[in-house]
């Protein structure tokens, strides 16, 4: 078969399975009072909950202990993340730092950076945002125009990042910037910098989304000074680094669980003895979800084995995002289950509430972390078509 289409399936190891009930007990007692569960990793910013997770050792799980990590496997991390998402726990505060900023610093950062940033992330106290997109740079990431100019002791940054989730309440941003003018290779001359979001020369402006929330932002840098010590990896190596970061960004269960609470509420509304059409929808959604989960666990196995599952991650994310969008649509057309009047549930019914919330966020599912079109391009490359 084609490279990138080989998914070796495996059972989760016992050590990982053992964590499952522990996480469930934790969520049952620590879920903030009155919090409306949402399986979307981007919803629910709770520093208090993140700190508690940190003290359980469930952030930075795979990192070395000397940086505050737990030296656990990717499978153990997988179980913790999927349990938190399925329960709809508020995880957005630490999510990016745990998923990709930490691993990026671990792989490319200096010893000083690791010691400075990783323990705080692992404690659930230090939160990071992604600094990739710009007003004129979305999918074409190599076209970033934010510049970092070499000055005594560091870099002077000018430019704008956009769609920066939680920049108004996170601590740092890892920005992809141009440190050399473009040459024949568009991928040359890019670098990554850790920028303090509360520092001088950084202005964060909220952007309201279609759901009425303003959890993403525009971040403007005006002569923002970044110390030499906050350059991540080698100057000019930004492209390689940012692509490896995307491997972590694309592979997890958050790529097919965003709409999961809609499924839960539909099963609840359908009751223990559903009509055949309702049962068939439940079974259909489950067959997709169980299959995606097998594929995603297989990718966790590749990360554990140290291989680079770029194509597999893109394929699972693309398939998973399509499913996250299909789920609320199919449920909506089948609701209310049972085929009884009233033909529509009241807006405060948990299923209706979940449906509305998910539908309003659904356009982002196939945009964030790489658009559907970009991901399908990665898969096409895996098929040898480009």
């Amino acid at each position: 078969m084609f490279p990138g289409l080989r998914f070796e399936l495996g059972e989760l190891p016992a050590a990982a399975e053992a964590l499952r009930s522990e996480v469930r007990r934790f969520v049952a007692t620590e879920m903030p009072a009155g919090y409306w569960p949402n399986a979307d990793f981007n919803e629910g910013h709770s520093p208090e909950f993140s700190r508690k997770l940190g003290s359980q050792g469930w952030i930075g799980m795979t990192w070395p202990q000397r940086y505050g990590g737990g030296e656990r496997t990717f499978f153990e991390r997988y179980v913790v993340t999927e349990e938190l998402l399925a329960a709809g726990a508020p995880v957005s505060a630490h999510w990016i730092a745990d998923r990709q900023s930490g691993p990026l610093l671990l792989r490319f950062g200096s010893e000083q950076q690791r010691r400075r940033y990783l323990p705080g992330i692992a404690r659930g106290e230090s939160y990071f945002s992604i600094g990739m997109s710009e007003p004129d740079t979305g999918s074409d990431l190599a076209s970033v125009r934010t510049r970092a100019e070499k000055v005594a002791g560091g870099w002077l940054v000018n430019g704008t990042k956009i769609w920066t989730t939680d920049a108004h309440r996170n601590h740092y941003l890892i920005a992809l910037v141009r440190t050399q003018p473009p040459t024949d290779s568009r991928h040359a001359g890019l670098s990554q910098l850790v920028i303090d979001l509360h520092g001088e020369g950084v202005a964060v402006r909220p952007i309201r989304n279609i759901a009425g929330f303003d959890d993403f932002n525009e971040v403007v840098f005006e002569d923002c000074f970044v110390a030499e010590a906050d350059l991540v990896g080698e100057p000019g190596n930004g492209w390689v680094q940012v692509t490896s970061e995307l491997g972590y960004e694309r592979s997890g269960p958050e790529r097919f669980l965003s709409a999961f609470r809609v499924f839960v509420e539909f099963v609840r509304a359908a009751g223990a003895y559903p009509q055949r059409a309702d049962a068939a929808l439940i079974g259909r959604l489950a067959s997709h979800l169980m299959t995606l989960r097998k594929m995603s666990i297989s990718v966790a196995g590749m990360l554990q084995a140290g291989t680079d599952p770029a194509v597999e991650s893109a394929l699972v994310k693309s398939l998973g995002n399509d499913f996250e969008k299909l789920l609320p649509e199919l449920v909506r057309l089948q609701s209310p289950p049972g085929g009884h009047w009233p033909a529509q549930l009241p807006p405060d019914h948990p299923l209706e509430r979940c449906l509305r919330q998910t539908l309003l966020h659904s356009p982002s599912f196939t945009l964030r972390g790489g658009t559907r079109e970009i991901l399908r391009g990665v898969v096409a490359r895996g098929l040898g078509l480009r």
Binding site: L5, V267, A279, A280, H288, K294, R376, G382, G384
Partner: protein
């Protein structure tokens, strides 16, 4: 599965099966009736492949369904799934007889060429009347009336294993369909370049690849559940996932593969239809997607909404 079995099967099927054989074996063209490829069967039997998965052979259900996946890649025109499962059930395949299986509707693949018919509820007959028929792929699906059957021990979970056989055949055939589509898109030139260079075509092929990968994973998951003898309800659930997901993938994949092939793939002369018609046919055999989805959905609903995630993550009856 065992690599030696896979290699042997791959070699025999690629060497012995060509388009002419597939056409002769199918009941597709008007006035023709599918002819059993006896020479192919003898080769398969001489290599011992008909005993894969049978007791005391050192092979298991993982090998059996793995072999069917390989068979799907080559559209093997034999009732291989039925022979393997019947031999595994009766344990007397050494004699080399062709034993097919009649489902609840009394339809048995290739009964016209069979020595024995095993019924789904465990009757074995050497005498049976046959009325030839075919599925939409032109594969022999004969109606049988068994005479003087002998009751053997009730076969364990035979219906769901037959369903899984169709998922495995489908997963293999889908791999072949993807290979066909990628090869064609790379060779076929329009507007001065291979059509594979157009983003619209790449996009379609990426969707096709996703469906194929999902089908293979769904199938492999169910095979692993059977192979490692998970509790009965979990096997049933995993097989339901596999049959339903492979069936959905089959429809999407066949549609895209034909679109990429243009009118060329719509001709009888092209090889693609031997695979696309089979996956269309197999998704209807031993329970359509909706049947398996509804049964799975009923078990999930009975488990309760608050246990939905546990069902997804750990399956039925393990809490």
């Amino acid at each position: 599965m065992d690599a030696l079995i896979e290699d042997t099967a791959e070699r025999i099927f690629s060497d012995r099966i060509d388009k002419a054989m597939l056409e002769r074996a199918e009941t597709t063209l008007p006035g023709t009736i599918g002819e059993f490829p006896a020479a192919l069967w003898e080769t398969v039997r001489d290599a011992g492949l008909h005993l894969v998965g049978s007791p005391d052979t050192g092979t298991d259900y993982g090998d059996l369904f793995g072999l069917l996946k390989v068979a799907g890649r080559h559209a093997v025109p034999l009732p291989l799934a039925e022979i393997l499962l019947a031999n595994a059930v009766t344990g007397d395949g050494e004699a080399g007889a062709i034993t097919t299986i009649a489902a609840a509707d009394n339809v048995a693949p290739w009964a016209r060429a069979a020595d024995r018919v095993l019924t789904i509820d465990g009757e074995l007959a050497r005498e049976f009347a046959v009325e030839p028929g075919a599925n939409l792929a032109g594969e022999a699906r004969d109606r049988v009336v068994v005479q003087n059957p002998v009751r053997i021990a009730a076969p364990d979970r035979l219906h769901e294993r037959l369903a899984l056989s169709r998922a495995a055949l489908t997963a293999g055939a889908l791999e072949r369909i993807l290979a066909y589509a990628v090869a064609y898109a790379t060779e076929r030139r329009q507007f001065g370049r291979p059509i594979a260079k157009f983003q619209a075509v790449q996009n379609s092929l990426a969707v096709l690849a996703g469906e194929v990968a999902a089908a293979v994973c769904a199938c492999d998951g169910a095979v692993a559940a059977v192979e490692s003898a998970l509790p009965g309800p979990r096997q049933t659930d995993e097989i339901a996932v596999a049959k339903a997901r492979c069936g959905e993938a089959a429809g999407i994949a066949a549609e895209i593969a034909h679109q990429v092939h243009g009118a060329m793939g719509f001709t009888h002369e092209h090889g693609l239809h031997h695979f696309t018609r089979r996956v269309w046919a197999w998704r209807d055999e031993y329970g359509r997607e909706r049947q398996w989805q509804a049964e799975l959905g009923q078990r999930i609903a009975a488990n309760g909404a608050d246990n939905l995630w546990d069902f997804i993550a750990r399956g039925h009856g393990t809490a």
